[in-house]
Each structure stands twice: as structure tokens, then as C-alpha cells.
């Protein structure tokens, strides 16, 4: 490969006006988009802001939109991108820009605090430990792989286009709920809050989140749909509703 054109989003502070700026840098064998961005930063744009850490797809810091697709920059190889036009790199669009490629994802951290924390059943053995089958561990492993890159949040139209941040927690936190609800030791119940406070009903399972997940978590089919089913059977099952009327229970 050789000199490659880039169009990178530059924006000076949250209120500043943003725009694309063109750069050219030499791309060599095996490079990923993050390498190219760093090279541009070192050569011609010392103050280009980019968030990153592990550079191995494990920390989920370098989320951005590459040629319009939500991606981890460290896991996007240059050789997989078309060479006949400039490579466009811009910040995640569902969150406010702080500067250049860095956006304010603090909303996600606030959302997480509101979700019912883990609480285990009493220990199974006298020494205070639990007995868990490997298959029960494996069932939730998929959800626990999440690296919190927030690419699923970026692509979810309920957040990106409809801005329902107050009523809807987004795919990341349905995965988080699923990890807790299906945890073999957990005893809490999160169905009422999923329905009322977290807006699971807004998701109309277009599976955009699943497509962009760099950890290949089957977000829609394995996390959101089962949670929706649980919510439905908890709150819309006629027998359960009847039972609630007589028992005076008001879990909803």
C-alpha cells in the first residue's frame, strides 16, 4: 500500500463548529485505522483528539464511525477498506462531541447506576462457596464479554434518531440486565424496571446493535428478545394478572 487519503472530523470543543479535514499518510502492511490516525496525529495534527487504550479490541475505548460504520478503530484493518476513495473517520454520532473523535459517553455510566445490582443467593456450601455448573456459566458468558464500547448504543435508532435517553437505556444495558437476570446466583428481579424505567418496549428488534458488536454478542436474539418475553409473561399473562388482583400484589 501507499499514501492514503483520510477525511477526519475536527471539532474544537462541544460548542465548536465541526467539519471534515483532509489528511494523507503512508499506510503499510497490517495497519489498522487507529495506527493511521496516530500517525496523522504525530506527523501533521499534534492536537488531534482520539480516545484509545489497549489497541487489541479488549477495552472498547476507540469507538468511532469509519466510512459511516460504527467500529473499533484498533480492530479495523486498512486492508479491508476500499482504496479508491478517502477513508472517513468521525466520532460516534449518538453522543455529544467533546473534541474531534472523542465524545461524551458519561450518560452510559449514569444509566448503569440505576440498574438493580447483583445479589447472590445464600452460599451452597458451609465454607461460604457456591456450586455452579459450567453450562450455567457459559450461558451468561456471552453477555459478560461486553467491553462497553457503546457502539450498539451509537447505532440504536431509539437513541441516535429519537433521542429517548430519558426513557430508554439502550442495547448495552439490556445486555447488562440479561447478564444479571440469567446469572446463576442472582436473586433480584429487574422485570418491572425493564418495562417501566428502561423502556424495553421501544426496541423494535431491527438488530442494528447485533450487527455492530465487535464482541459478536447476539444482542437482539439472546438478550433483548428473551427479556421482552419475560416482561410479557410477567405483566401481560392473564393468569398472573388475575393472581395479582387477588393477592393485592402490585409488582408493576
Amino acid at each position: 500500500m501507499a499514501a492514503t487519503q483520510f477525511r477526519i472530523w475536527r471539532q474544537d470543543g462541544a460548542e465548536g463548529e465541526g467539519g471534515y479535514r483532509d489528511y494523507t499518510t503512508e499506510v503499510t502492511e497490517g495497519m489498522v485505522v487507529l495506527d493511521a490516525v496516530h500517525q496523522i496525529q504525530a506527523e501533521s495534527a499534534n492536537d488531534l483528539a482520539v480516545r484509545w487504550n489497549c489497541k487489541a479490541g479488549k477495552c472498547g475505548s476507540c469507538s468511532a464511525e469509519v466510512n459511516g460504520n460504527p467500529r473499533l478503530m484498533c480492530m479495523t484493518r486498512m486492508s479491508d477498506l476500499p482504496t479508491d476513495r478517502p477513508v472517513t473517520v468521525e466520532p460516534m454520532r449518538a453522543f455529544p462531541v467533546i473534541r474531534d473523535l472523542v465524545c461524551d459517553v458519561s450518560w452510559n455510566y449514569e444509566v448503569k447506576k440505576k440498574i438493580e445490582p447483583f445479589e447472590p443467593r445464600p452460599p451452597d456450601a458451609e465454607d461460604g462457596t457456591w456450586r455452579i455448573a459450567q453450562e450455567d456459566v457459559e450461558r451468561v458468558q456471552e453477555f459478560r464479554k461486553c467491553i462497553e464500547c457503546f457502539l450498539c448504543q451509537d447505532v440504536c435508532h431509539v437513541l441516535r434518531d429519537h433521542h429517548l435517553h430519558e426513557e430508554f437505556v439502550g442495547p448495552r444495558f439490556f445486555v447488562y440486565n440479561a447478564a444479571l437476570e440469567m446469572h446463576p446466583l442472582d436473586t433480584r428481579d429487574r422485570l418491572a424496571s425493564l418495562k417501566q424505567d428502561e423502556g424495553i418496549g421501544y426496541c423494535n428488534i431491527t438488530k442494528c446493535c447485533t450487527k455492530v458488536c465487535p464482541e459478536h454478542i447476539t444482542i437482539t436474539d439472546n438478550a433483548i428478545i428473551p427479556l421482552k418475553e419475560r416482561v410479557v409473561s410477567e405483566f401481560y399473562d392473564p393468569l398472573k394478572r388475575l393472581f395479582r388482583v387477588f393477592s393485592g400484589g402490585s409488582r408493576a
Binding site: 474544537d12 470543543g13 503499510t28 502492511e29 497490517g30 495497519m31 489498522v32 495506527d35 496525529q41 499534534n46 492536537d47 488531534l48 483528539a49 482520539v50 480516545r51 484509545w52 487504550n53 489497549c54 489497541k55 487489541a56 479490541g57 479488549k58 477495552c59 472498547g60 475505548s61 480492530m75 484493518r77 467533546i98 473534541r99 474531534d100 472523542v102 461524551d104 459517553v105 458519561s106 455510566y109 448503569k112 447506576k113 445490582p117 447483583f118 447472590p120 452460599p123 461460604g128 462457596t129 457456591w130 456450586r131 455452579i132 455448573a133 459450567q134 456459566v137 451468561v140 458468558q141 459478560r144 464479554k145 467491553i147 462497553e148 444479571l180 446469572h183 446463576p184 446466583l185 442472582d186
Partner: protein, 602 residues
């Protein structure tokens, strides 16, 4: 600029495993607690830990207990560890692992449903609690999610660049916010440093940009002692190709699951050089090595699971002898196990999912079918802030350190898996003792002049015009450390390195970082130069003083161990004129009980 200080009983700097565990403990003890981290919460280096957490729970082999663990740790550290720390670590690690489970962590299981443990280099029995090869993620997420419900304040994307003192006692810290470039003043009765390592001082490293020796330098600047700085762990297996991923870690778990090292002639060279200290514990044949991997309790470890310092040097020797792979490494082969088990591809993907993923996506290579190319990468520093074994307090009152930025547990070489347990055991202790210190000690006074001076100094690179850029100095330092203070060291090169670090330090004082204060990486790099240069100087000076080869330090001019140096560790501290002073001090004495244990277990 808002200068109203944040006030805490305990301020924790760093939000990896040690920092989070310290904060949880301090807050449980009733202390008000704030945590400052350079990145977003949950992104710290702990997330990268793959293999597992060493804790002698004895679920897989009931012969294991804390006594075996402590002797393994001391042997691995070539008897330079603080024996009391090694003992506390071995005794308390099981409880810390089980507590993590009570907070929601899910480890892989044995057939009867208990925590499964895996083999790792230098550990006599299967000892590492793990979740596939992403144990660090499980650990940091568990601590993070547990921590956010405990009233701890998190200050994300802040960097601490100065500690504040009140008459020799710690009184707080000065930080800047990476996102917007504002200064923040923190007033705290106790400070816990949990900032991790120094890997960015080297060119080839598995560490991210954060690992610039901040905690080491904050402590050093405040007058604390550093020890063991000559001992930098070069992990034997980092990726070597493609160039942009050079240094990224390939977990020791690959070898734990049966991976073997081969040179370009296809020879399994690790059988050729087995150190006397490990002769009795190492397999004689490939056949015995495989039996160990699949759990035969009478078999001994394959030589690929010797300690990291040794394996790294054997790899360097192969490369120097012209038997390296095309891109300057050697081969690591896990695909070969297809000769032994029928569903090997599925087995590898299940046991090493993130390694499979990493090679597939970054190198276009399928580890279930092909050999990997690997070579040593800067991974960990055994050296750090000298602390009291029980409390983790440094030589500065109220200043604590835990995890990688503290020293004492690992001596001359750390065993894989002993880091995650270190973070939890000593993170907890630091939090507990810091909270008690804050409770018992009187109030502190903020030195306003020091605050003003610190901020003024930090702004200099932004305001200075026409100076050199910071990246050039950073790259020159990384090249220098890689070349002259790396795996193989020699007196003349160490001396040259120390001189060159002096010249780079002068240049660093005159850098310019144009742009404004919001998320300005040039400015951040300019401020990172001071800690990088301090830790680099400490590594080079300590390495020069230790005229022997032991653990992670290999001196070409003194290739043997020297009994005299087996009795001392090296301390680095700021001298009266501001220059760095290094000197030998005696190794902490071993209790009679431990001495007996070491003799019994060999």
C-alpha cells in the same frame, strides 16, 4: 479555573483492580472516597489480563495450599521478594477470589461446580482461577459494578501530576482533566497510588499509553523510596507481526493449554536449557509435558511453563542464533494438539477465545490451524514504591501504594497470575489502612503556593512557543530504553543510557505543545515526559548497580548470579540536591517458619 478543592478522607489514584479494590474497602470502612482515573472507568490495564488469578484454593489439586504458593512466589522472585508480603499474598488470595464471586464474578467451573484452576508458569499446581482468557475483564467489571453502588466518586479522564504535602505528610493531589484541560485540586487525608506500570518507557510493550510510571514518579517526587526498579518483566510472548501490533500480549494461557515454542528448524528448543532451580519440577520429555497439560498429577511441567524471565531469554538466544521466524520472533504452536485430541479446533476456540479473535482479526491467522509468531514484549515492572508489607504505606506518611506501582511481592521476577491476586490482596489492605489513617490523623492544610506553582508549571508547554514537540523526545526515549536498558544489559550501554536520559530530561523542560487545553494529546504527552524519564533513570541506574544476572535482569558482562547481590535490593530516592540516589539495602529478613518451608519445598 475552578480551584475549590474536592475533599476526601481517601483519594485513590487509578481505577484498575488495585484502585477499585482499595476504594471499595475504604468506603466500606466509612471513609469518604474519590477515585481518579486517566481513562474511562473499566478501561484500565487490568482489563487486558488474560490468564487468571493465582489463589491456592486447591479445587483442582488438593495438595495446593498457601505454603506451596508462597514458596513458588519466593522461588520465582529469586528470593528478593519481601517475604512477609509474599506470605500475606498467598494466605489471603483465596479469600479475595471467593469474595469476587460473591460480588458477581463468574469463573469457569470444575465438574463438581467449584472454581476451576489452570496451570501457569512457575506454579507447582493448577492454581489460576479464570474465565476463558478474559479474566481481567471479568475482574474489573465486577469491581466496577460493585463499586458504583457504594457512594464512591469517580473522576474519569483526569491525570494526577503532583502530590500535595503538608509538613511531610500527604495532603492531596493536583490533577488536570483530559477532556477539557481544567485543573482540579484534591484535598485528602490519605492517598492510595494504584497507577500501574511503566511499559511506555519502552518501544515494544504490551502496555497502553497510560503506563507512564505516574504513581512511581508522584511518590518519588514526594520523597518516597522506589525499590527493585531494575526488574522489568519482558513477557516472552508478544505478537511480532504485523508491525502495528508488535508487542500486543499473547497470553501464557496458550502454553498452559499445551502450546509449544519452536525455532525456524522446527526444534522445541525449551528442552535444551532448564535452570538448575527448576530441574526437578520440569518434564524430561514432550510426552511427560503433554501429560501435565491434560492433568496427570504425576507429570511435571513442560519447559514452556518455566518462569517468564527464562523463557524470554531463551527466545532471544534463538533469534540471535539465526533460528528466528521471518519477522524476528519464534513460533508458538497450539494447533499441534490436533495430534492429541480430536476436536482440537473447537477446544482451542473455547479455551482461548480472545487469542483466536486477536490473531484472526489483527494478523489474519487461524491459531487452530497455524503457528503464531511471537517475541518478548515489555509487560510489567516488579519495581515500584517501597511499602510496608501489612499496610502498604510508603515511607511518606499517609501515602499508600498497591498493585503494579508498589514493589516487594514479586522480587526479581513475577509469576504469571500473581498480579491479579496482588491487586486484590494489597488493594484491599491499602484501602483499609488508608481509611484508618484518615480516621486517626488530624486535619491537613493545603499549601496554596504549591498548588499555584504546580499549575503554572503544567501550563508551560502550552504557553511556550517554538520549542521542540514532545513526541520526538518520547520516541527517542523508547528507542533508547529498548536498545540499551532492555532484556540484555551491559555496563557501557547502561552508562550511555543514563547520560542520554539526562540530555532528554533537559530537552523535555523546553518542549512546546501547541493547541488549546481541550483533549490535547500533545500537551498530555509533554506532561507524561517527566514521569517517563524518572522511571527510566531509575531502571537504568538500578540495573547498573546490580552487577549480576538474576530474574528479569540479565547482564551480559555479569552473566551469573552473585551471592552478594542475592542479599540486597536496590533503593532509588531523590537526593538532597534533587538528583537520583541509588543504593543497596538488605533484603527483608525471612521468618523462621518461612525459612523452614523454603527448605522443605526446595
Amino acid at each position: 479555573m475552578d480551584q475549590t478543592p474536592y475533599e476526601y478522607d481517601v483519594l485513590v489514584v487509578g481505577a484498575g483492580g488495585a484502585g477499585l479494590r482499595a476504594a471499595i474497602e475504604a468506603s466500606a470502612a466509612g471513609a469518604s472516597c474519590g477515585v481518579i482515573c486517566k481513562s474511562l472507568l473499566g478501561k484500565a490495564h487490568t482489563v487486558m489480563a488474560e490468564g487468571g488469578m493465582a489463589a491456592a484454593i486447591g479445587n483442582v489439586d488438593e495438595r495446593d495450599d498457601w505454603k506451596v504458593h508462597v514458596t513458588d512466589t519466593l522461588r520465582g522472585g529469586q528470593y528478593l521478594s519481601n517475604p512477609k508480603m509474599a506470605e500475606i499474598h498467598a494466605r489471603e488470595a483465596p479469600e479475595r477470589a471467593l469474595e469476587l464471586e460473591a460480588w458477581g464474578a463468574l469463573f469457569d467451573r470444575t465438574k463438581d461446580g467449584r472454581i476451576l484452576q489452570r496451570n501457569f508458569g512457575g506454579h507447582r499446581y493448577p492454581r489460576l482461577a479464570h474465565v476463558g482468557d478474559r479474566t481481567g475483564l471479568e475482574m474489573i467489571r465486577t469491581l466496577q459494578d460493585h463499586g458504583i453502588h457504594r457512594g464512591i466518586d469517580f473522576h474519569m479522564e483526569y491525570t494526577v501530576f503532583r502530590l500535595l504535602l503538608d509538613d511531610g505528610r500527604v495532603a492531596g493531589a493536583l490533577a488536570y482533566d483530559r477532556e477539557r484541560g481544567r485543573f482540579r485540586v484534591y484535598r485528602a487525608k490519605a492517598v492510595v497510588l494504584a497507577t500501574g506500570g511503566i511499559g511506555r518507557a519502552f518501544k515494544i510493550t504490551s502496555n497502553s499509553w497510560e503506563y507512564t510510571g505516574d504513581g512511581h514518579t508522584l511518590a518519588y517526587d514526594a520523597g518516597a523510596d522506589l525499590i527493585d526498579m531494575e526488574f522489568v518483566q519482558f513477557h516472552p510472548t508478544g505478537m511480532v507481526w504485523p508491525p502495528s501490533v508488535r508487542g500486543i500480549l499473547v497470553t501464557e494461557g496458550v502454553r498452559g493449554e499445551g502450546g509449544i515454542l519452536l525455532n525456524s528448524d522446527g526444534e522445541r528448543f525449551m528442552f535444551d536449557d532448564i535452570p538448575p532451580l527448576y530441574k526437578d519440577q520440569t518434564a524430561d520429555s514432550a510426552e511427560e509435558g503433554w501429560r501435565y497439560v491434560v492433568g496427570d498429577r504425576d507429570a511435571r511441567r513442560p519447559p514452556e511453563l518455566l518462569t517468564r524471565d527464562h523463557v524470554a531469554r531463551c527466545i532471544v538466544d534463538q533469534i540471535k542464533a539465526g533460528k528466528g521466524s521471518p519477522h524476528g520472533g519464534v513460533y508458538l504452536d497450539i494447533a499441534w494438539i490436533k495430534e492429541k485430541i480430536s476436536n482440537s479446533e473447537e477446544h482451542i476456540r473455547k479455551k482461548l477465545p480472545s487469542m483466536y479473535h486477536q490473531f484472526k482479526e489483527l494478523a489474519g491467522l487461524d491459531i487452530t490451524k497455524e503457528r503464531m509468531e511471537v517475541g518478548p514484549t515489555t509487560h510489567y515492572v516488579m519495581g515500584g514504591v517501597r511499602v510496608d508489607a501489612e499496610s502498604q504505606m510508603s515511607t511518606v506518611p499517609g501515602l499508600y501504594a498497591a498493585g503494579e506501582c508498589a514493589a516487594g511481592l514479586h522480587g526479581a521476577n513475577r509469576l504469571g497470575g500473581n498480579s491479579l491476586s496482588d491487586l486484590l490482596v494489597f488493594g484491599k489492605r491499602a484501602g483499609e489502612y488508608a481509611a484508618a489513617f484518615a480516621r486517626e490523623q488530624g486535619d491537613i492544610r493545603l499549601d496554596q503556593a504549591a498548588v499555584e506553582a504546580g499549575m503554572k508549571e503544567a501550563l508551560e508547554p502550552l504557553e511556550r512557543e517554538g520549542g521542540e514537540g514532545p513526541y520526538q523526545i518520547q520516541h527517542e526515549l523508547q528507542d533508547l530504553m529498548q536498545e540499551k536498558v532492555g532484556i540484555v544489559r551491559i555496563e557501557s550501554e547502561l552508562e550511555e543510557a543514563i547520560e542520554e536520559i539526562g540530555r532528554l530530561s533537559d530537552r523535555a523542560k523546553a518542549v512546546s505543545a501547541p493547541g488549546n487545553r481541550e483533549y490535547n494529546p500533545g500537551w498530555h504527552t509533554a506532561l507524561d515526559l517527566h514521569p517517563l524519564l524518572v522511571v527510566s533513570e531509575a531502571v537504568a541506574r538500578a540495573g547498573l548497580l546490580r552487577r549480576e544476572s538474576r530474574g528479569a535482569q540479565f547482564r551480559d558482562d555479569y552473566p551469573q548470579k552473585d551471592e552478594r547481590f542475592g542479599k540486597v535490593i536496590i533503593r532509588a530516592a531523590r537526593g538532597a540536591d534533587g538528583e537520583m540516589v541509588v543504593e543497596e539495602i538488605p533484603v527483608e529478613p525471612m521468618s523462621d517458619e518461612l525459612t523452614r518451608l523454603v527448605e522443605e519445598m526446595g
